[in-house]
Symmetry: C2
Subunit: 247 residues, 2 copies
């Protein structure tokens, strides 16, 4: 199963000045593509912290998506941190420099050219709806923090991550979570599925949402049937009709 | 300066079945209390992963807030993971057991009593609006994932984290971020402030929001005055009148 992690880089996220939209969005996209997201990390604009995090995380998953820190200002430190993490120099990309020169023309400032810098060994991926290439270095996909651009860039490369689908079926219960716990444990042990249990204390029509998931529909439906059979009818508020692709 | 980290535990967050509300909310609360949030991590319900994360993170900040994994079902693994991370046994708390027995009475099931288990050495904090104590172990605050309870529990202990305030002033520019980058860099070097720069590409009235922050108002206002003096008037869309407490 293809696995991924997301690294959000930016003091503005940790201080609450800007609320994350990128991880929230990418989580859903990865799910729909069948990729297992293993971790989301939000860290400050500090090279030491970024370097440590990338070194630790990159070997543990197939793909790491970074968000933020790639603009022209003093707090944009992702590129140099990626290079430092993997022991390669930062080099200026002639292709990115040409794009910047064409875009800014006589308005070009030296700081703009920082956006042409990449870790040595970077692959630039062009195509789709995007005007600027996606920066790909080893198993890292270095994306900008501005949500509209983050999304457009991911969508331009999304197809290469497709890896089957997850199938999901939810059962909504008017029951106490502790009372159904043994049943859920037995379900997870008996079928090749992942069972989740999510209590609610607000005004929803149910007190517990049970989710049953797997990489195929058949075990999900078999487990759901077993669950529904085992529960008193009055505890079942409603249930999905059948397993459906998640995401 | 008091520092903190947030650890969100739950497969449902990484699969996008449930969107995080707790870190988003706590980020703002910590900011208002003057606490510097250093990291937010979202990890799955897997003891090995939780143990590694807590061992690594706990020594690096003053306080770690965990969210999730403390209910009665098979996927609630936070307590045993905390105990394993710090090499202590899980013990049943007589106080929590008494609360559970009083609450559930004849509806009590064996799985409910899992919620009375804590790492040995845990302190229970009662008071405020909460019916159940907050579980405090070393520098960890073990909070539940259900947002309403998460918030009530944090609010019951919030005052003990208060540590001054951050002061913030924003300046909104119709300018290119790369063109103002040297000015922002000089500002950060000259004043004891943190300068942030956030480009927008949507229909907002400005193209860049510059933020100036510090632990006191005076340096923020001095830096803002210097910035406003240095910019052509037509580039300044609007600016906060004065530094104000952030959060």
């Amino acid at each position: 199963m293809r696995t991924a992690a997301i690294v959000l880089i930016g003091n503005e996220l940790l201080s609450g000045k800007i609320r994350d939209e990128n991880a929230a969005w990418l989580t859903g996209r990865l799910r729909a593509l069948g990729v297992q997201l293993r971790r989301v990390v939000m860290i400050p604009d500090e090279p030491d912290v970024i370097v440590d995090e990338l070194r630790r995380l990159a070997p543990t998953v197939d793909d790491v998506f970074t968000s933020g820190g790639v603009g022209p200002t003093h707090d944009d430190l992702t590129i140099e941190s990626v290079a430092a993490a993997f022991g390669v120099p930062v080099v200026r990309s002639p292709r990115l420099e040409a794009i910047l020169r064409a875009h800014f023309a006589e308005r070009l400032r030296p700081d703009h050219l920082r956006m042409a810098d990449v870790p040595e060994g970077t692959e630039l991926i062009e195509g789709g709806e995007i005007r600027w290439p996606v920066v790909h270095f080893r198993n890292l996909w270095i994306l900008p923090g501005v949500p509209q651009i983050f999304r457009a860039k991911f969508d331009a490369i999304a197809d290469r991550f497709r890896d089957g689908a997850f199938f999901l079926r939810s059962v909504y219960l008017d029951a106490d979570e502790g009372a159904v716990a043994p049943l859920l444990r037995a379900l997870q042990a008996r079928f090749a599925v992942e069972v989740g249990s999510y209590p609610r204390i607000d005004a929803a029509d149910h007190r517990v949402r049970v989710t049953i998931e797997a990489r195929a529909a058949a075990p999900v439906d078999a487990a759901a049937a077993a669950l529904l059979e085992s529960l008193p009818a009055e505890q079942v508020v409603r249930a999905d009709e059948a397993a459906r692709p998640a995401g």
